[in-house]
């Protein structure tokens, strides 16, 4: 128990250090831009008043020394203050990012549940029927989609199911001009817009989960307690359900956190192709408009999410498998 607490403490400390390094990276990167940061970050647009530049210089404390700037920066970061979005002054960048986050959660959440569920089922089936046609087929499927850029797969889906067959809409999260409300027409509209982007994310990532599940289950099946269970005369199905599966799930927990990084990458690409108004779409628009506060806020938010997710996965692993804490 004591070893476990110490383990968790160390993981927590590591997470905090990682977070701190991310903040430093965020600070350093945004000061790598050549010349006066304000001139670099404010586009040469006559519509932007000169007072705004002065306001930015004051706001970012750019006439202070680098140390003062750094500490101000840390303070602002921890308070989630990244300044106003350049494209709509008066609105804080963080609130815009959080606003878009809802759509990303809808898209990423739906596809994550689907890809984990389907992936594990396929993996378990392949492990059970190892060497069968199904096993070889699912491996080929996995490799093929692994090699495919997510954005290209999304484009193909648009070309087939939106442009040619006209089954689903090709862009947006809702029919343009409408707002979401908890009524059936609106919910159906949301689902209708969600199917293609979610399918492109899910199908591309199923294989990742299937392969790990398969490997993990095959490992477990060679353990002595499986032989014992069989020797007791248990039915093959019960051996799988009660003895093999629960143990094979362990590595999946760690994987789910790690694949989250992968899912985020996929979400970004899918959102761009489908003009889905999530964080990815917002961030990539921000790189075109050089909307740095948005970029910084999104980067920080994603980093924090990933660090927390990894920490939670570590905790779950330690709790579920006490052997790990000894190492």
């Amino acid at each position: 128990m004591k070893a476990m607490t110490r383990m968790i403490g160390r993981r927590a400390l590591n997470s905090i250090i990682t977070l701190f390094l991310v903040i430093i990276l965020n600070f350093a990167l945004f000061r790598l831009m050549p010349g006066n940061p304000v001139n670099a970050i404010v586009p040469p647009d006559p519509r932007i008043p000169a007072e705004y530049k002065q306001h930015l210089i004051d706001e970012y404390g750019l006439n202070e020394s680098i140390y003062v700037q750094f500490f101000t920066y840390i303070k602002d970061t921890l308070l989630f203050r990244f300044g106003d979005s350049f494209s709509d002054p008066g609105t804080s960048a963080m609130s815009i990012v959080l606003d878009n986050l809802r759509w990303t959660l809808v898209l990423a959440g739906t596809s994550s549940i689907l890809m984990i569920g389907i992936g594990m089922a396929i993996g378990a089936a392949s492990a059970w029927k190892r060497g069968s046609l199904f096993d070889t087929g699912s491996l080929a499927f996995t490799l093929f989609f692994y090699a495919m850029p997510t954005f290209w797969f999304s484009m193909m889906l648009v070309a087939i199911f939106a442009t040619t067959l006209d089954w689903f809409p090709s862009s947006g999260a809702l029919t343009s001009g409408t707002q979401f409300e908890w009524k059936w027409p609106s919910i159906l509209d949301l689902i209708n817009h969600l199917i293609l982007p979610a399918a492109s994310l899910t199908i591309g990532a199923i294989g990742e989960f299937a392969i790990i599940m398969r490997g993990s289950l095959i490992d477990v099946m060679t353990e002595d307690y499986i032989t014992t269970a069989r020797a007791k005369g248990l039915r093959e199905r019960d051996v799988m359900r009660y003895h093999a599966m629960p143990n094979a799930m362990l590595p999946m927990v760690a994987l789910i956190a790690m694949t989250l990084a992968f899912v985020v990458g996929g979400v970004f690409q899918t959102e761009v192709v489908f003009n889905y108004p999530g964080v990815g779409y917002l961030t990539i628009q921000a790189t075109y408009d050089l909307n740095y506060p948005i970029l910084q806020a999104a980067f920080f938010l994603i980093a924090v999410t990933m660090i927390v997710a990894n920490f939670v996965a570590d905790l779950l692993l330690v709790v579920m498998d006490p052997r790990i804490s000894v190492v």
């Binding site: 990682t18 990167l29 290209w152 193909m156 690409q269 980093a303």
Partner: protein, 319 residues
């Protein structure tokens, strides 16, 4: 005796080592040849490498066989500028809104896509190997520092990191910058892998023996640890090339890659097709062909990587 050996140009131990290397390579090749998937990957890849090296010649031959009015380069305005056009007998895949022949762009595009894939993974493998080697070998606080930095790059989504680096690093978009961005964001997995391997090697007797014979850190890492880590790194680097090519295409697709008017890659062809409304104008070949090229090249690298992994890490072979 030394002088006698020196007179012949190459020292005796070097010749012996070369012989051993050749024998080992041949033995590996014999095993590799048995792997059908690996061979399919290798042949496909060699096909692409051939086309990319001889791109102008390939276009010349095609032009002569098909009787095109001239050989097209990737930036030649051979058709209407401003909108994409469907395939014709002279332009098998049609033309894009730059007035460029899409087939020519696809063929020339293989050059930069493959080049970026190779060079970027060389950068990331080099960085990852060095950090993993020393982190694992030193241990202690120096390892802690290196691993915490590795964690940052491991935890953050690769695409987000690449976007931030590509947007903020000074200098306009260029091939060099893309290589740098992919290299600097892609090394963390390798560093972890190498470090784990080094930690298990470090306590082996041959390392202790070398140390007791008075060998220094640098010498041990170079002569004893690195050669034992190399096969692992090699198999892994082939998979990294696949990832680098995917990364390049994604970066180019979101307009953070090299300038499409001067450098053509499969990624920026796909971006062109989005910007040129290839869907609406039903110019499907415009994005299907470059995309399919990416899939085939990445797939062949993956197949080769898995085949090498089976040879160098035989523990997995029975699976």
């Amino acid at each position: 005796m030394m002088s006698e050996v020196r007179r012949r140009g190459i020292s005796e131990p070097t010749i012996e080592r070369l012989r051993l290397l050749r024998r080992r390579t041949m033995a590996t090749w014999e095993v590799y040849r048995q792997n059908r998937m690996g061979m399919i990957g290798l042949v496909t890849l060699l096909g692409f490498v051939f086309v990319s090296i001889f791109a102008p010649q390939v276009m010349w031959v095609l032009a002569h066989i098909a009787g095109w009015p001239s050989t097209y380069g990737p930036f030649d305005e051979v058709a209407t500028v401003g909108r994409g056009l469907p395939p014709t007998a002279d332009h098998w895949l049609g033309t894009d809104f730059r007035g460029n022949d899409i087939l020519a762009r696809t063929i020339y595009g293989s050059r930069v896509s493959l080049l970026i894939g190779f060079v970027a993974s060389l950068v990331s493998m080099g960085l990852g190997t060095v950090i993993g080697l020393f982190g694992g070998f030193w241990g202690g606080w120096r390892d802690e520092v290196l691993m915490r930095i590795t964690d940052v790059f491991l935890v953050l989504p690769w695409l987000v990191l690449m976007i931030v680096f590509a947007t903020l690093l000074p200098g306009g978009p260029s091939v060099m910058k893309v290589v740098f961005v992919i290299g600097i964001t892609g090394w963390s997995g390798t560093a972890r892998l190498v470090r784990a391997q080094v930690m298990s090697l470090k306590s082996r007797t041959f390392v202790e023996r070398a140390r007791s014979a008075g060998a220094g850190d640098y010498y041990i890492v170079r002569k004893h640890i690195f050669p034992n880590v190399f096969p692992l790194v090699f198999a892994n680097s082939v998979l990294t090339v696949a990832l680098s090519i995917l990364s390049e295409s994604t970066l180019s697709f979101i307009r953070l890659g090299p300038d499409p008017t001067r450098v053509v890659t499969w990624g920026n062809m796909l971006e062109d097709s989005m910007a040129g409304y290839a869907f609406l104008n039903e110019l499907y070949l415009w994005f299907m062909v470059p995309g399919l090229c990416i899939v085939l090249v990445v797939l062949s690298f993956t197949l080769i990587g898995y085949a090498l992994d089976e040879i160098f890490n035989p523990r997995l072979r029975r699976r």
